[in-house]
């Protein structure tokens, strides 16, 4: 089972190491981790996608809470939240197939952010399934490089974590 955790932490040096260290030493599996400062500059928000059954998740949450610099941990349920990931894909493209790629990009409401004679860089935002789908369609053209941010998420409505 995959879970998305929103982890509010003190925006101090070393906090990322503490969190990452916890996951590795206790043997928890991280799928992705995204981190950035929040509307309050003294707080950073980590979005961690973790894999495990309910018992593992319970331990992850409790152990995270034990870290002095962790302010709050929330398990964000998928139905009640908006999750997004940004991916940049550099795909091989020339005059012959460029228009075909542009069609795909349009369908996915992605954007082309760089063009050169032999390649394009495509920016796509969405949930994991969408990114997987476009990646699959672009693969035959030759993906040269790919960078993903990892998922970030907010709960819907006025509720905050």
């Amino acid at each position: 089972m995959k879970h998305t955790l929103a982890v509010l932490v003190e925006n101090k040096h070393g906090v990322l190491t503490r969190v990452a260290g916890l996951f590795s030493r206790r043997g928890y599996n991280i799928d992705s981790l995204a981190v950035g400062v929040t509307e309050d500059p003294s707080i950073s928000r980590m979005t961690i996608v973790v894999r495990g059954d309910d018992q593992v998740l319970e331990q992850v949450v409790k152990q995270l809470n034990k870290l002095i610099d962790v302010i709050r941990v929330t398990d964000i349920e998928s139905g009640e939240s908006v999750g997004r990931e940004l991916t940049l894909i550099k795909v091989a493209a020339d005059v012959n197939n460029r228009s075909e790629i542009i069609q795909i990009v349009d369908i996915f409401r992605a954007r082309i952010v760089d063009v050169s004679a032999k390649s394009l860089i495509i920016e796509v935002t969405g949930d994991e399934d969408k990114i997987k789908a476009i990646e699959k369609l672009l693969k035959p053209f030759g993906i040269k490089e790919l960078a993903r941010t990892g998922k970030i998420a907010l709960t819907r409505g006025s509720k905050k974590v």
């Binding site: 932490v9 003190e10 040096h13 070393g14 190491t17 503490r18 260290g21 030493r25 018992q55 319970e58 331990q59 409790k62 152990q63 809470n65 034990k66 002095i68 610099d69 962790v70 302010i71 709050r72």
Partner: protein, 562 residues
Amino acid sequence: MGDSNNKMSGARALIECLYREGVDTVFGYPGGAVLPIYDELYSSSIKHILVRHEQSAAHAADGYARATGKTGVCIATSGPGATNLVTGIATAYMDSVPIVAITGQVPSPMIGNDAFQEANITGITLPITKHNYLVQDVADLPRIVKEAFHIASTGRPGPVLIDLPKDITTDEIEFYYPESVELRSYKPTYKGNIQQIKKAADEISKSSQPVIYAGGGIICSNASDELLEFAENASIPVTTTLTGMGAFPGDHTLYLGMLGMHGTKYANYAIQEADLLIAVGVRFDDRVTGKIESFAPNAKIVHIDIDPAEISKNLKVNIPIVGDAKWVLKALTKVIKQNNTQNWINKIDEWKRKYPLHYMTDMSLKPQYIIEQIYEACNDAIIVTEVGQHQMWAAQYYKYNHPRTFLTSGGLGTMGYGFPAAIGAKVGMPDKTVFDIAGDGSFQMNSHELATVVSHNIPVIIAILNNGYLGMVRQWQELFFERRYSSTCIKDSVDFVKLAEAYGALGIRVDKPEDVRPAIEKAIASKRPTLIDFIVECEENVSPMVPAGAAINEILDLEVKK
């Protein structure tokens, strides 16, 4: 009025902070990066105990903390000084002992450049501290020290490390000590949930075969009186873990002794037949539970602990209560109703009669006998141990009637812990008689501290149960590796009596049962650091024993030999 007379160096400010925290003693070892701190110590009223290896400074701070209940403090220089603390910090972490470790660091601008004697000690100790700090601005120092002592001693206690770059100790600060700590992310739960406590009380009234399984958490929370009152009011027998020895009076009729791998048979049988287990300040460690799937198979489990992460970590429990043991036990005692456990107690008493702890007595000098004699000679001592067979015998054959009188490395199992921890205990509790029950192997891990006890005149008594072996490992080799004693024979390592004398301590050798008591009396009367080298039966085994991976009622007697 800007720069008043409160301006001082970081080093001076550190000492000022220690005063404010009520620190009377620090254990440490100097070096380049802590020179400014040592210069301030020179003229301060805080006592500095100079050890002979930084590992001992950490263990001594730990022993001081366990014996007094106050936070222990140790200091080491950067690089090797700091890394030498690591075993001591890990030992304190595993047993939830409040210590503050202060390390020197290379000057801030040089950090990260592999400077002389640089080690990333905050990185190294990340997984073995409750929290740690690298001070980056001298203005933060008072707040950090305040937080460090607060974090170390509250909630589930543990070690906190402060890494102090040398330039920070010479930078100037306008000193101001904060009165309170503001940590929005750290708020331990002390009061247990009343609904949960009522549920527990309900289960207690329904139960006919309850057992209390109490651990080090009782001692951390100073909850021994509350435990006694609860157990007596509800008529529930009590077993303790190794680190929980002394949490409940050792000579009480409801007491079952220690449980687990080398526990009493009756404690283990009681757990396995219990219909309700009330676990307080424990963590279901594998040395206690044996095969966890068959631990307390018939029991509903109530688990009281201040650390939410301990709840259902190893074993799913039915009624968790997060809170301070003292608070929760008090509240629980208020709401329990009368219940009748007399049949259950009778059954346990029958087991006690049938399966007492025992050993074969013959003409030879038995280690168990020595522990009994120490108890006879001094029943209110602080007993500190090393790790091995002697540690188990010290747990089995001395009756601990008060908390903070049995200090041992339970979680990490650190050989070499006992002697320096005994130093810390004696310094913290000078009126108590302090014994280090040692093995001949363990003692050699920190025997150089004889210099410390002699130079500071700290009269601890070292009782070496000298079996010529790394006995606990030899026991496993005997039982599970066809007596192939690979690298466990250490006979004739050294003449311990001469070693003691070389340092200026009193040395006594004993090899006959009749000389045991006089030697102990002599050591106590001498008021000097004393080492007694007890030459004991060399292949004695710790019994009974639950083989690794077995259920705890599959407990065997081992002593039938020769």
